[in-house]
Amino acid sequence: MQNLYELEKSLVDIKKPEFRPGDTVRVHLKIIEGAKERIQVFQGVVIAINLKMNRSTFVVRKISAGGFGVERILPLYSPSIDHVEIVRRGRVRRAKLYYLRDRIGKSARIREKMNV
């Protein structure tokens, strides 16, 4: 039987993402409305990256205008992601920043990473 791993590797162009957990990013998403296509931007902190070949995802968390936390799980190699722009590099000490969910305001800040 053939190897599923080899196939998954060949399905998309697998490369490591430029951004890391803790970074603030602007994700430019292609939205199709009827016949028209437009770009929608989702800005927030990357709180997790799950690397699983073509099934890789990343989680972006932002605080909406109403003060609610909004998270989007986005496929890393999705064709509907136009590009990801890095706004700010964050200095964090773990790979998954789920603790940010329990924090609000000042304690939910992330230090900026200098001299990258």
């Binding site: 039987m1 196939l7 292609k30 073509n54």
Partner: protein, 207 residues
């Protein structure tokens, strides 16, 4: 034309469609298969093609009948044979090689396999019964409850849902969409799930 082939389930993964949506797919390795026998209505009473699955290892344990059947048409021993009925006589010949090219992207496929065995299971897991409460002095818990009445009919109806073997049974899934055909690797990706475990033998037909 030949309407089906034997294959192996490789596993599941996901792909993106044109709109960027994620599509769950099952990867099936089809064939390579060889035509082992052609049945015609004059000779056998109906039209069909029997195909065998070519595997990396040649099987050692085949019955004499199987060896004799394949030896008649000078074909290497193979474990898995399936027959596909045809409406009219086909132009296929014994020894013809078949691969993923039998299928087209517009086809809807029917996949038959053996489901994963779950052993002897109770009525809650096997038939989705509600069961009783677990606490407060319950004597009911996961029991099936009453399975019939007293004087009338004074028997249990055949087919009553009861505990028993679950899974390891022939299961067919119909009308699966073909998402992609990778000819050089002999793989097809179909949308959705397919019965059986990874490496399980499946029969793939055009529906």
């Amino acid at each position: 034309m030949i309407k089906g082939l034997i294959g192996k389930k490789v596993g599941m993964t996901q792909v993106h469609d044109e709109q960027g949506r994620v599509v769950p797919v099952t990867v099936l390795e089809v064939g390579p298969c060889v035509v082992t026998q052609v049945k015609t209505s004059e000779h056998d009473g109906y039209n069909a093609v029997q195909v065998g699955l070519v595997e990396e290892n040649t099987p050692r344990k085949l019955s004499k009948a199987e060896v004799g059947h394949l030896g008649k048409s000078q074909i290497a021993p193979m474990r898995h044979l399936r027959e596909f009925r045809l409406n009219e006589a086909s132009d296929a010949k014994v020894g013809d090689q078949l691969s993923a090219t039998v299928f087209e992207k517009t086809d809807k496929l029917t996949v038959t396999g053996t489901s994963r065995g779950k052993g002897f299971q109770g009525v809650i897991r096997r038939h989705g019964f509600g069961g009783g409460r677990m606490t407060h002095g319950s004597n009911f818990k996961r029991a099936p409850g009453s399975i019939g009445q007293c004087a009338t009919p004074s028997r249990v109806f055949p087919g009553k849902k009861m505990p028993g073997q679950m899974g390891n049974k022939r299961v067919t899934v119909r009308n699966l969409e073909v998402v992609e055909i990778i000819e050089d690797k002999n793989l097809i990706l179909v949308k959705g799930a397919v019965p059986g475990s990874k490496g399980g033998i499946v029969t793939i037909r055009k529906s």
